[in-house]
């Protein structure tokens, strides 16, 4: 339960940064997606039913504050969780470069899943080249941020006495 609360607090903080702080910083070509990194973290550290449901809820949370298509990010982050979990079951990721690589992989999966969801809606969604371009840049940014986010989550867990 405390673990879920810790993650919820992290998600709220991440969303506040994404919707208010990052857009006000000049010169950022693409917004860093901290929620995506949280979903990657769930895939690594919470390979449970709660972790899967958490990834879906993170997506739903993101859907509330991004775009108009409800379910797009819920679908995408569930796919990210599944892919990351699959990789993390066979390899050990905790910090540094491996975490960056995993976040990059998660970002790519998210890019593909978002574009697939948009196509599924049969509406005027983002076109594939654009989605892939945005997905690639988003994945690179997620990779850069992942070690810091993982470290922040580890710190939060220590403060709450969860480790």
């Amino acid at each position: 339960m405390r673990s879920a609360v810790a993650l919820a607090v992290a998600a709220v903080a991440a969303m506040l940064m994404q919707t208010t702080i990052f857009p006000s910083l000049p010169g950022l070509p693409v917004l860093p997606d901290l929620i995506l990194v949280l979903a990657v973290y769930l895939g690594v550290a919470h390979q449970t039913i709660g972790g899967a449901a958490g990834a879906f809820l993170l997506g739903y949370f993101l859907d509330t504050f991004s775009g108009t298509l409800l379910g797009q990010n819920s679908f995408a982050l569930s796919a990210v969780y599944l892919s990351v979990r699959f990789v993390a079951r066979h390899l050990w990721f905790e910090r540094g470069l491996p975490v960056m690589a995993l976040a990059f992989f998660g970002g790519l999966v998210r890019g593909v899943a978002v574009a697939a969801a948009a196509a599924l809606a049969a509406g005027p969604g983002p076109n594939w080249p654009h989605a892939m371009r945005a997905g690639l840049v988003g994945a690179a940014l997620a990779a850069l941020l992942a070690p810091a986010v993982f470290a922040a989550l580890a710190w939060e867990k220590r403060q709450l006495g969860l480790t």
């Binding site: 709220v12 969303m15 506040l16 940064m17 994404q18 919707t19 208010t20 702080i21 857009p23 006000s24 910083l25 000049p26 693409v30 917004l31 997606d33 929620i35 390979q47 449970t48 039913i49 972790g51 899967a52 449901a53 990834a55 879906f56 997506g59 739903y60 993101l62 859907d63 509330t64 504050f65 991004s66 775009g67 108009t68 298509l69 409800l70 379910g71 797009q72 990010n73 819920s74 679908f75 995408a76 569930s78 796919a79 969780y81 599944l82 979990r85 978002v114 969801a117 948009a118 599924l120 809606a121 049969a122 509406g123 005027p124 969604g125 983002p126 076109n127 654009h130 945005a134 988003g138």
Partner: protein, 283 residues
């Protein structure tokens, strides 16, 4: 039962994927959004966003201050310190002046429209950058409803698509899911201004025989029942007559600088432009 226990996580993810896909399909077919969970998230986050947005504005000012300081490195230490102090003071004061000017502009613009309008502050922007949306600090408690138009002195901003008690989200005209019924001001040719994936706009469905030129101003037609007639939308910057279809299209530069938008007017019910007073005899 044993199978379910052993594969509980996979089955949960599969269920999440199916629910997510179902939500996407449903949401793609129905205009607007009526998800109670989303409304709750929006409502909980609104006060936090309002506070964080103020921090963000302060941070943006400080960021600029740091950049200025780096440029002034060549000057001596005393002067640099003094410049920094003065700049901090200036930042604080100069924030008030443009805000006053913006609000005055908004008020002047408000006089040109008949109907109920309220002022709202932009407290958040799209969380991913894949779509073009804003969060504003007014919701149902202030009378904002789904489908209301968001306007700025420079013209059309967008349309409200999700409302909670104290906040609402606006779909911008530059979003690829957006469409505004428009007229070419000079020739009265009709078309639809739609957003593009790269945050621009394009004028579509204009008959090939219509006269559209680079530099033409586009205004809202009022026929969509959302935006009042005659509000500026953008200006034609390029025309595309390729293809064999019945229509031509044109690239449009939006009038409103979406990135710098801090306040908007939101309609409450029907709004019409104020008719100009008839000229006095002998004038």
């Amino acid at each position: 039962m044993d199978y379910i226990r052993r594969n509980g996580v996979l089955l949960t993810v599969a269920l999440c994927l199916v629910v997510g896909a179902a939500l996407v399909v449903r949401s793609g077919r129905t205009p607007g959004r009526a998800d109670p969970l989303g409304r709750a998230f929006l409502e909980v986050m609104a006060p936090l966003e309002r506070a964080a947005s103020a921090i963000g504005r302060g941070l943006s000012g400080s960021w600029q201050g740091v950049a200025d300081l780096v440029h002034a490195r060549g000057e001596n230490a005393v002067l640099r310190e003094r410049v920094q102090r003065l700049e901090q003071e200036l930042d604080r004061l100069s924030e008030v002046e443009p805000e006053n000017a913006r609000l005055r502009q908004l008020l002047d613009f408000r006089q040109t429209l008949q109907g109920e309008l309220l002022t709202a502050r932009v407290i958040g922007r799209d969380a991913t950058g894949l779509a073009r949306t804003l969060t504003i600090d007014r919701g149902e408690s202030a009378g904002v409803a789904r489908g209301a138009a968001a306007l700025a002195p420079a013209g059309v901003v967008g349309q409200v698509f999700l409302v909670s008690r104290h906040a609402a989200r606006v779909l911008l005209v530059t979003d690829h899911n957006s469409g505004v019924d428009a007229l070419v001001q000079r020739t009265r040719a009709r078309g639809i201004v739609q957003g593009t994936v790269d945050a621009g706009c394009v004028l579509n469905y204009v008959k090939r025989t219509e006269d559209v030129q680079v530099g033409d101003a586009l205004v809202s037609s009022g026929l969509d029942g959302i935006f009042p007639k005659g509000l500026p939308i953008g200006r034609v910057v390029a025309i595309d007559k390729r293809g064999q279809g019945l229509f031509q299209s044109a690239e449009v530069a939006p009038e409103v600088d979406i990135e710098r938008l801090e306040e908007v007017l939101v309609t409450r019910g029907p709004v019409t432009p104020v008719e100009p007073a008839p000229a006095a005899p002998g004038e």
